[in-house]
Symmetry: C2
């Protein structure tokens, strides 16, 4: 009997683990002007594009399960130079290059993708590799009107 998977509507959260959650949160808040939905010593949760959440956890504060009357959130943790990518409009690439320079954030790499997208890479205070990518990395900008391309245009 076929057993199709119900659809996944989107990527809601991605997580980072900081040596000093305050320092790392300040980095993301300052650079991106993200709004914090939660701002605690354990977690700073940033709203991204009004539809995603970037979770910055204090390393060591999430090792154990959280158990309360609402249920159980199992433990998690992470280390290493984790990687995430954020979409930007192609027309904002140079503005981002300038903003990173103005804030003293070194661009550690750049890449021009076969489909025309461009990526800038830099590190957050914990060494995570942050990428800003224009349309044409995974999908072609020719596929105009797709969610990806519209999103990257701020639609």
């Amino acid at each position: 009997m076929p057993d199709p998977a119900p659809p996944i509507a989107g990527l809601l959260e991605t997580s980072l683990y900081a040596d000093d959650v305050r320092r790392t949160a300040d980095f993301y808040r300052g650079l991106f002007e993200f709004k914090a939905l939660v701002d605690s010593p354990r977690l700073v949760a940033f709203e991204v594009a009004k539809k995603h959440v970037l979770l910055v956890f204090q390393r060591g504060a999430t090792d154990d399960d959280v158990v309360d009357a609402r249920g159980t959130i199992p433990g998690h943790d992470g280390s290493g130079r984790l990687h995430l990518a954020l979409s930007i409009a192609a027309s904002d690439l140079e503005a981002w290059r300038g903003r990173l320079a103005n804030r003293g954030v070194a661009i550690e790499g750049e890449y021009g993708w076969p489909r025309g997208g461009k990526s800038l890479y830099f590190r957050d205070p914990d060494g995570a590799l942050v990428e800003l990518a224009t349309p044409g990395l995974w999908w072609t900008p020719v596929r105009a009107g797709t969610a990806v391309d519209n999103a990257a245009r701020g639609a």
Copy 2:
């Protein structure tokens, strides 16, 4: 002089690091029926909701920079029980509970959020904590018509 940040259009990629990329990719492909955009011994890149990419890297294969004629992708890596959350429709929660049970994936935790959202938590083969969340975790379902709620309805 004000120096506003250009907008971030969305969360494009999140990354996991697998002890055995084949095993972990099979888990995500089987459970979610994700389409692979790249399927190599180094990386399986899954399209999520036609607008995001879940990157599953072979641990150890991304430590060094990638340098070629197109540019430089700096090295990255990760370990630990990383965490990501995927959005589902509220009406699919029970179907997901059943699908996880049918596939022998143990639900390690459940949580009912104050705004009405519900989350199911389970582990991937590397111990990453995967969450399936219905609308009403970060934002209220009352905020109908927002990107989050529309996305979770498959709009």
